[in-house]
Symmetry: C2
Subunit: 317 residues, 2 copies
C-alpha cells in the first residue's frame, strides 16, 4: 500500500485540496493518505463526503506557511506548520513515500532540502515539469524555476537527475536529452549553454544537441534542459499562449458558425483542449535530487490536481 | 514619395520576394522600390507581372550572402552582394529611407552596423519584433535575438530605443515598459534582470515593473525588455505553441462535428487565426539604434511578408 502525505495548507483553496483527498481515495485503491493541516477543519470539510475513512490519516499541524513568508525562516521557525510537520513525518517514516503540497514553492523547495536532505553527490536539486507534446507524449522540463543563474555543471546535473526520473517513471531506456537554445546548430546559444553543451556532449547521456521551443512541443526529446529562469519563461509562455489562441479561435468559430447549426461540439472540443493544456490539473512539478519524492502542485490546485498528483507520485515510487 | 530598397537574395524563396515587390507597388501608391540582386533575373521573374514600372529601380548586385557565410567576413569581402550594395545605396542616398532584407540575420545586423553605423550614444543596436496581443493590439519585444549575454545597461538601452520607436510608429505618448521576468514582484528575476530593474526604475521611462509571459500576451505593456536569448525563446515559444494548439483543436472539431453539418466555417476560423499568429507574413523584425531603418524579414518570407514589411517601413519613417 502506498502511503502519501497531502499538505492541506498554504494553497489558494484548501477546501478543494481537502476534497481532492476524498476523491483520490475513491479513485485509487492502493493508497493511504495522511492529510497535514488542522485536523478538526479537515474533518469538518470532509463531513459530508463519502470515502474509505480507514485509509485516511492525519498530521495535526494547524500553522500555515504563506507566500509572504521568507522560505528559509519559515521552515526554521514554523515548527507546527502543515509543511514542516509533513516533511518531518515523511523523513521519519520509511514506509511513507511522498509528499504533495500546493503551498509556497520556495518553502517546499527549502523545506525539502533542509528537512529531507539532498541525495548523495547532488549539488542543486531541480524542479521538473512534464509538458504534454503534440505527439501525445510528454517532455520533462528541467529546471522549471527553482534554480536561477545556474552554472554549466548544474545544467549537467539537472539532465542527469531528469534522465533517471524519466527512465524510472516512464520506462524509457535511453531518454533523448536536448539543451534549450535559440537554434539547433551546435554553436548557437549563450555563454551558459555553450559550456553546458560541451559537458553534456562529453557525458554518458543520450544528448541530442540544442533544441528550440518547437522541438520541445513536438516531442523531439524526452528531457529538455534549461536554467530555471528561461525554463520558467518557456513553461509559462506555452501555457499562456495556448490559452490565448484557444479563446481566439473560439470567438471566430462562434462568429462563423451558420445560425441554425448545433454549436455544442465547439464547446466540447474547446474544453478537451483546455484540459489537455491545463498543467495545473494534470499534476505537479517534482523536486529531483532529494531523498524522498516531493511534488509541488500549483497554488491554485483543484480536486483533480490532487488526484493527479497522487497518481503521479505512485508512478514515481 | 517613400524610397525603399528590397534585398532579393539570401532568402529561402527569392521568387516570392521579387513577386512581393510587384504586389507592393500595386497595393501602395506612395512608394518607389529599389530591387537589389541580379537585375536580369529580377526582370525575368517580373516579366508577366502587372505593376507600375516607373516606380521600380534596380541595384544590380548578383552576389549572394548565405546563412553559411561568416557575417562579418561576408560584409567585408562580398562587395558585390545584394546586401552590401543595398546598404551602401541606403547610406549614400539621403532620400532613400529603408532597407528590407530576408537574408542572413547575422549579416543584416553586422552590415547595418558596419556600413550604416550606429546612432550617436548607442552601444548595442537591438532587433525588435511586434507581437500581436489578445486585446487586438501589439507589444514590442526588445531584444528578440540579436544580443545574447547582455549586461544590465544594455537592457536599459533596448528599452530606450524601443520606447522611441513605439512613440513614433504607433503614436503612443508614454509607452508602458515591462521587464520580462519569472514573477511580477519587484524582487523576482535573475542577476541580470535584478540589476536592470533598478536602472529602469531610475530612468525617465514609464517603467511598470516585471512582467510574465501572460502579461506580454494580454497586452499589459507596450514594450517588453529581455536579453536576446530568452527574448528569442519567448518569441519562438509563442509561435510554436499557438500553432500546436490550433492543430489540436482542429482535430477535435472535425472529430466532434455532427456528420451532416457544414464544416467549412471551421477551416475559415482556423485560417484566420493562423494568419494572425503568422509573424512571418505580418512583417519583419526591425533593427533599432542604427542610422537608417532596416527591417529583417523572416528567411521564408512570402509575397505578403514583403508587402507588409514595406508598409511597416513607411509607418516608421
Amino acid at each position: 500500500m502506498n502511503k502519501i502525505i497531502v499538505d492541506c495548507l498554504g494553497c489558494d483553496n484548501k477546501t478543494a485540496v481537502i476534497k481532492g483527498i476524498a476523491k483520490a481515495l475513491n479513485e485509487i485503491d492502493d493508497v493511504i493518505i495522511y492529510a497535514s493541516g488542522d485536523e478538526k477543519e479537515i474533518k469538518s470539510i470532509l463531513h459530508n463526503e463519502n470515502y474509505d475513512k480507514s485509509r485516511l490519516g492525519f498530521i495535526n499541524a494547524p500553522e500555515v506557511i504563506t507566500n509572504n513568508d521568507s522560505p528559509v525562516l519559515a521552515i526554521r521557525t514554523k515548527e507546527n506548520s502543515s509543511l514542516v510537520q509533513a516533511l518531518q513525518f515523511l523523513r521519519n517514516n520509511y514506509d511513507v513515500s511522498a509528499l504533495i503540497s500546493a503551498g509556497s514553492t520556495g518553502a517546499v523547495l527549502c523545506g525539502s532540502i533542509i528537512i529531507l536532505g539532498k541525495e548523495e553527490n547532488v549539488d542543486r536539486p531541480t524542479l521538473v515539469s512534464y509538458l504534454p507534446t503534440s505527439n501525445n507524449s510528454f517532455v520533462c522540463l528541467t529546471d522549471c524555476g527553482a534554480n536561477i543563474d545556474s552554472r554549466p555543471q548544474h545544467l549537467l546535473e539537472f539532465a542527469t537527475l531528469a534522465n533517471e526520473n524519466v527512465k524510472k517513471a516512464f520506462k524509457i531506456d535511453n531518454p533523448r536529452i536536448g539543451l534549450l537554445s535559440i537554434g539547433s546548430e551546435d554553436k548557437k546559444g549563450n555563454a551558459l549553454t555553450k559550456e553546458a553543451f560541451v559537458l553534456l556532449k562529453n557525458s554518458d547521456l543520450n544528448f541530442v544537441g540544442n533544441v528550440e521551443p518547437k522541438n520541445v512541443l513536438n516531442g523531439d526529446v524526452d528531457v529538455v534542459v534549461a536554467d530555471g529562469f528561461y525554463g520558467n519563461i518557456l513553461l509559462k509562455t506555452i501555457e499562456s499562449s495556448a490559452k490565448t489562441i484557444l479563446k481566439n479561435i473560439l470567438n471566430k468559430l462562434y462568429k462563423h458558425i451558420p445560425g441554425d447549426a448545433d454549436s455544442s461540439f465547439i464547446k466540447e472540443s474547446y474544453e478537451e483542449c483546455l484540459k489537455e493544456i491545463d498543467f495545473n490539473s494534470q499534476g505537479g512539478a517534482q523536486i529531483l535530487g532529494i531523498k524522498k519524492a516531493v511534488i509541488k502542485a500549483h497554488g491554485s490546485a483543484n480536486e483533480d490536481t490532487i488526484v493527479n498528483c497522487i497518481k503521479q507520485a505512485i508512478k514515481n515510487i
